[in-house]
């Protein structure tokens, strides 16, 4: 470990971290934006979900490097193949959670909202989505953490990210650079994860304290249903 390397390359580390953060955060957010309407449709019309889930499972099995390469001819050697690839993978872990979250809203709560005169849209926006928020954010956390880690693979096809520190470190046989890259990726992922936990707490104040103990066991932890179909990290 050569500590002096860090301050002398500080600006480069910072800009690579920024590029990695951009890829790893924007993609799951786009994935979330697509998952929400899809999830609402899938929760409402049940026949829509099983075929969608098959597609999601199939896409999720594609190795990230291969998917980035598939997208190169259409989008060029820019950030776009990586952003699209990570968006698709995030979609695969977020969508099942949106559906599970919406389906998990108790029927009695929905009936109460209807009885109070809520129309379908108002009920969705002010009752069902807020109640589904913890499960949706659980999916988003998985999407963000794995996208940040996966963005580094994009460096193999030349898309700038913290993966540069790995590849440059290998070419120069310089472990310090690789340690810094690993550290930045993991810390960036953990910080984003913590921010999302904070957002969840802020959005669902009723789920804090005593009530949290009675929440069902989080089955979404890792690829366990009803959440992500095969959600592991995507190398």
């Amino acid at each position: 470990m050569m500590w002096s390397w860090i301050p002398s390359n500080w600006s480069e580390i910072l800009s690579l971290t920024r590029a990695n953060a951009f890829l790893g955060i924007v993609s799951p957010l786009i994935g979330l934006a697509i998952s929400l309407p899809l999830g609402v449709v899938a929760a409402r019309w049940r026949w829509f979900y099983p075929p969608t889930l098959v597609v999601v499972n199939v896409i999720y099995a594609i190795p990230s490097l291969a998917l980035f390469i598939v997208l190169i001819p259409a989008f060029g050697l820019t950030d776009t193949p990586v952003v699209i690839g990570l968006t698709v993978f995030s979609l695969c872990v977020i969508l099942p959670n949106v559906v599970a979250g919406l389906r998990g809203v108790p029927a009695s709560v929905k009936q109460a909202a209807t009885a109070m005169g809520y129309g379908p849209l108002r009920r969705l926006l002010t009752v069902e989505l807020p109640l589904a928020t913890p499960v949706i954010i659980a999916g988003l956390r998985v999407g963000v953490v794995s996208s940040i880690s996966l963005a580094s693979v994009g460096q193999i096809i030349g898309v700038s990210s913290l993966g540069y520190l790995f590849i440059d470190g290998l070419q120069r046989s310089f472990p310090t650079e690789i340690y810094v890259g690993l550290f930045c990726v993991i810390v960036l992922a953990l910080i984003c994860d913590l921010i999302l936990v904070g957002i969840r707490r802020a959005l669902t104040p009723w789920a804090s304290g005593r009530n949290r103990a009675v929440r069902p066991r989080p089955r979404w932890v890792l690829s366990a249903q009803p959440a992500a179909p095969g959600a592991g990290a995507r190398p």
Partner: protein
């Protein structure tokens, strides 16, 4: 030219199917580089997951490890080991085994821990020994999730073995990495296509396995989850 025309031209070129480093050889190599770590990871993670799920001890640890696991960039880890030890068997085998363990472990644990307590009580009440309870009741009921874990692990090793070509591992990733180094898109696209096909075959294999292995009485059970 689109991705598929590049990939198709390369895959259908006769010369790529013969000699050292040809498609069949790298395909077999890729299967080996994926199968061996998956087997080792399963041998460690399945018994450990069953034990943790059965006893309930260490559950918090498992869940936390599984969450932290996603944040580890596999490319960085492989490269770090390659820089220290050069390209050896352990440079690629150990990270692949270690990183394939969490998805298997968590799913096996979740499956076994999630068995209905009433069913467990019934098994005990019928006079089953703890061993029989685990082998005859808990594992068969957990089988759908155990297979999900093995499938996730399998998908993971196939993908990571592709990336490990960067540090010198053979397999289909060779075509991609060498093609990129020589700026030839043909082998890159062809290699990517073959990797995708292999991943889909793995997926198909597991869907077949779950049809063959999951007890008939449980087949509906996994469905509302899937």
């Amino acid at each position: 030219m689109s991705f598929f025309s590049y990939a198709w031209d390369w895959v259908t070129t006769d010369a790529n199917w013969h000699g050292p480093g040809s498609i069949p050889q790298q395909l077999v190599a890729h299967l080996g580089y994926s199968g061996l770590p998956l087997l080792l990871a399963a041998l460690i993670a399945v018994p450990a997951g069953v034990l943790i799920g059965h006893t309930g001890r260490g559950a918090v640890f498992v869940v936390n490890v599984a969450n932290a696991w996603r944040a580890i960039p596999t490319l960085g880890l492989l490269i770090l080991l390659a820089v220290y030890f050069g390209f050896t068997l352990f440079t690629w085998l150990i990270p692949l085994v270690v990183l394939a363990i969490p998805p298997i472990l968590v799913n096996v644990y979740e499956g076994v821990a999630g068995v209905d307590p009433g069913v467990k009580d019934a098994a005990k009440g019928m006079g089953m020994t703890p061993w029989q309870q685990v082998v005859k009741v808990e594992v068969p009921i957990a089988l759908p999730l155990i297979l999900v874990g093995l499938r996730t692990g399998a998908i993971f090793v196939v993908a990571t073995a592709t990336i490990a070509a960067y540090i010198g591992l053979g397999g289909l990733g060779r075509f991609i990495i060498d093609g990129l180094a020589n700026t030839q898109y043909g082998p890159v696209a062809g290699g990517a296509l073959l990797v995708v096909i292999l991943a889909l075959l793995v997926l198909g294999l597991f869907s077949l396995l779950s049809r063959l292995l999951v007890p008939a009485g449980l087949r509906g059970a996994g469905r509302d989850n899937q």
